[in-house]
């Protein structure tokens, strides 16, 4: 079991790198800001979380505590940042082909 941990770390590192590459290719390829957000929001949970799990597997208590802290922070802040970008895109340049169904602040009477 103890000899298996470095190989598991390697597998997690390469899985994270493949997911980061796929997300970057999605950002390069997608035409719209909303679809780009769909691609880039995957980096937090599928790209950084396996690296944090690899740190937790091969580390001691100082690694585990900081990895849990970074993971919780990333998990909470990445959707908020994506929502801020999408809201800015929607309010400055609303898309014509999507029906306007989000009630924003300046829609209220």
């Amino acid at each position: 079991m103890n000899a298996l941990i470095p190989w598991l770390t390697d597998v997690l590192i390469f899985g994270a790198l493949i997911m980061l590459t796929v997300a970057l290719y999605g950002v390069l390829r997608m035409p719209d800001i909303y679809t780009r957000l769909h691609a880039s929001s995957k980096t937090a949970i599928f790209g950084v979380a396996p690296l944090l799990v690899a740190l937790m597997l091969s580390g001691d208590a100082s690694f585990i505590s900081r990895a849990v802290l970074i993971g919780a922070f990333i998990l909470f802040t990445t959707p908020v940042a994506a929502h801020a970008i999408a809201r800015a895109a929607y309010e400055t340049d609303p898309p014509e082909h999507i029906e306007r169904w989000i009630v924003s602040d300046h829609d209220r009477p």
Partner: protein, 90 residues
């Protein structure tokens, strides 16, 4: 030592991804795409710091990664707010 080679390859790969996303920061079609690419570039730097912590066995890199996540979040919020309203505080 095959695991050290794996870590070296991973760090080089992450630096290449970081370079591509920095090119996207410059070339993005709109301002919001540039903000998005910048957010993604900080995520790549964070992953590189995690790989560096794995390679050097030091937990100080994880403190740097936490601070980088914090400032990246604040910077993205400030940039989108400036894009939306023209000011950050009002």
């Amino acid at each position: 030592m095959p695991h050290d080679i794996v870590l070296s390859i991973a760090i080089v790969w992450m630096v290449i991804l970081l370079a591509i996303s920095l090119v996207l920061v410059i070339l993005g079609p709109s301002r919001l795409a540039q903000i998005l690419a910048f957010d993604m570039a900080t995520m790549m730097i964070l992953g590189g710091l995690l790989l560096l912590a794995l390679a050097r066995r030091s937990s100080f890199d994880l403190d740097a990664a936490l601070m980088l996540a914090l400032f990246s979040f604040g910077g993205t919020l400030a940039a989108t707010r400036y894009y939306r309203k023209g000011t950050i505080f009002s």
